[in-house]
């Protein structure tokens, strides 16, 4: 789900997105970023497509300023953006235009406009049908809220949201990625959050009208999709940062751990995902990294986790006291970051 930047994330979408949110559970062993997982007999299963190419269909509805063919072209570009990631093996195929609607349980994956003025803070959302035994995604639908004004202009339109940017974000969900938390926001006096900056297309709040920067994937997005659908050689060529975040010696859940490569400027992040405070960040280019740990306080916690009450946000931003070195093809020395309470 991607929310408009100028209002608080809308919380009443849960019914429409039941499948999506129900699978965003805490995982014991998920890697970086956030991959959707489901629990089968106590065991976490990562949600992903297991057959390629994934067929998608474009809905036949237009929206103000966006024809059905403009819509289809924007979706094709957004899918191509994910297909072009060199470390990932994910492929899509356009199945055609359909009169079927997103969120119909019809066995086909449909992307289309729907008019939901009551969802006044939701630009778009993604839902899944999954095989609960295997974690295989069998259908995924995306709707774009035509209650907003959209643009497919190459340079964007300052009065409209960029359709392709939001599509790139939603397609990230479509393939099994959850939200990234690499972003900074501030509360607006009238309510909601304003994005000061983000370093991931998968950040849950859009940059704003007329901004087209989210058409381009960032290192965190690239690491996320590559980890989920790795090309041969991806794991051998990249490293993993792993370790714990603790407070008074005990692990904390939901800490956001960011690895920064000073040589490239890349920011790639993950979360502590269990009660031991353990995290893993895969897809790091070999080299030295600064590790920064922060509380999950720049978007609503339920944008990331389905059990927000378990998430600890009561600590101060803390840097690991050594440079972390990511090797190629394995994990570097385990990191333990002790944070102080707020």
């Amino acid at each position: 789900m991607r929310t408009a930047p100028w209002r608080a994330p809308w919380k009443a979408l849960r019914t429409a997105l039941l499948a999506c949110l129900a699978v965003a559970v805490l995982s014991q062993d998920a890697h970086a970023y956030l991959h959707f997982t489901t629990t089968v007999r106590g065991e976490a299963r990562v949600l992903k497509w297991q057959r390629a190419p994934v067929r998608w269909f474009a809905g036949d509805r237009a929206a103000a300023g966006v024809s059905a063919s403009d819509f289809q072209a924007a979706m094709a570009r957004a899918f191509a953006t994910w297909e072009a990631v060199p470390g990932a093996s994910v492929a899509f195929q356009f199945g055609g235009v359909t009169g079927a609607q997103p969120f119909d349980e019809d066995g086909i994956s449909v992307l289309g406009f729907q008019d939901h003025p009551e969802m006044e803070r939701v630009l778009g959302a993604t839902g899944f049908l999954i095989d609960t035994l295997t974690g295989e995604i069998v259908e995924s639908d995306i709707f774009f809220n035509s209650a907003f004004l959209w643009s497919t202009a190459a340079q964007g339109d300052a009065t409209r949201f960029d359709l392709e940017s939001v599509a790139v974000h939603e397609i990230g969900h479509f393939i099994g990625l959850g939200h990234s938390a690499i972003g900074e926001t501030e509360m607006r006096p009238e309510g909601g959050r304003r994005v000061l900056g983000s370093a991931a297309v998968m950040f849950p709040i859009a940059l704003g009208r007329g901004i087209t920067r989210d058409r381009e994937l960032q290192p965190d997005d690239i690491a996320g999709v590559s980890d989920l659908y790795p090309e041969p050689g991806f794991r051998a060529g990249t490293g993993v940062a792993g370790g714990r975040v603790t407070r008074n010696g005990s692990g904390i859940v939901g800490a956001h751990v960011v690895a920064f490569n000073p040589a490239t400027g890349a920011l790639i992040a993950g979360f502590t995902l269990n009660n031991d405070g353990e995290f893993q960040i895969a897809g790091l280019a070999p080299g030295a990294y600064v590790i920064r740990v922060e509380p999950l306080d720049d978007a609503d916690v339920d944008s990331f986790f389905s059990r927000p009450a378990a998430i600890d946000v009561g600590f101060l931003v803390t840097f690991h006291n050594r440079l972390f070195v990511a090797p190629a093809g394995g994990a570097g020395e385990r990191v333990t970051v002790a944070v102080r309470p707020k």
Partner: protein
């Protein structure tokens, strides 16, 4: 891991001109009386100066044209002791070449500051294992000899740099260009025997390092001094 970078040609050409000029200095001063040795070995230690590796902000894309800075990192290599061994061949009393390996274990320090959420500044570090293998042209300046046994020289060359991050799991490679000079002082010199001479040597060099662990895409200068014992054959 980084590929060996190119682009040092201009620096090499500059030093080449310098060497030619130095060779062309007319021999007007006293020439020391020393044996013409064909081979030389040299071992010693020294000090490699620190160098700034560069600064980079952890930037987030923003709606505004300027990015939003999450925090800043300013990195440098700290000065570190070195060990080296060299072997040389003299073509004449004036001109020779030498090659050697230099080992050091500098600390890579990163100062983290300007955090957007007011985290206190911190300096973090790792130890680097650093090896350079280089070759130099040596020009003895007998005209400037001090007495009969002490001769200054100039040298310039280039080499290969190999750096291993802490844990020795990641290798980074680069190039080293160096130029400088020093003094050789013979403690012993003779015309007979396997060892024809022995002495002490001090060097001062300026290194330009390209590639390797680098947070900015430009060569970085390191100063270095060393002292050693040499034997000639």
């Amino acid at each position: 891991m980084k590929a060996v970078r190119r682009g040092g040609g201009a620096a090499v050409r500059g030093w080449g001109v310098g060497i030619v000029l130095l060779v062309a200095v007319p021999a007007t001063a006293q020439t020391p009386v020393l044996p013409v040795a064909r081979f030389e070995i040299d071992a010693g230690g020294g000090w490699l100066g620190g160098a700034r590796l560069g600064a980079r902000d952890a930037d987030l894309r923003a709606a505004a044209p300027a990015p939003f800075r999450l925090f800043s990192v300013d990195s440098r290599f700290e000065a570190a002791p070195t060990l080296h061994v060299k072997a040389g061949v003299a073509f004449s009393r004036r001109l020779g070449v030498e090659a050697g390996i230099t080992l050091s274990h500098p600390e890579l320090r990163a100062s983290v500051s300007n955090d957007a959420e007011a985290a206190p500044p911190i300096t973090i570090a790792e130890r680097i294992d650093q090896y350079s293998v280089d070759a130099s042209v040596i020009v003895m300046i007998g005209e400037l000899a001090i007495g009969r046994r002490t001769v200054p020289f100039v040298a310039a060359g280039l080499g290969y740099l190999r750096q291993l991050h802490e844990g020795r799991t990641v290798v980074e490679e680069g190039r080293v260009f160096q130029a400088g000079g020093g003094i050789k002082h013979w403690l012993m010199a003779r015309d007979q025997g396997f060892i024809s001479g022995a002495g002490l040597r001090v060097d001062a060099r300026l290194y330009l390092v390209s590639g390797g662990i680098a947070f900015e895409d430009r060569p970085r200068p390191h100063g270095a001094v060393s002292g050693s014992v040499f034997l000639t054959f």
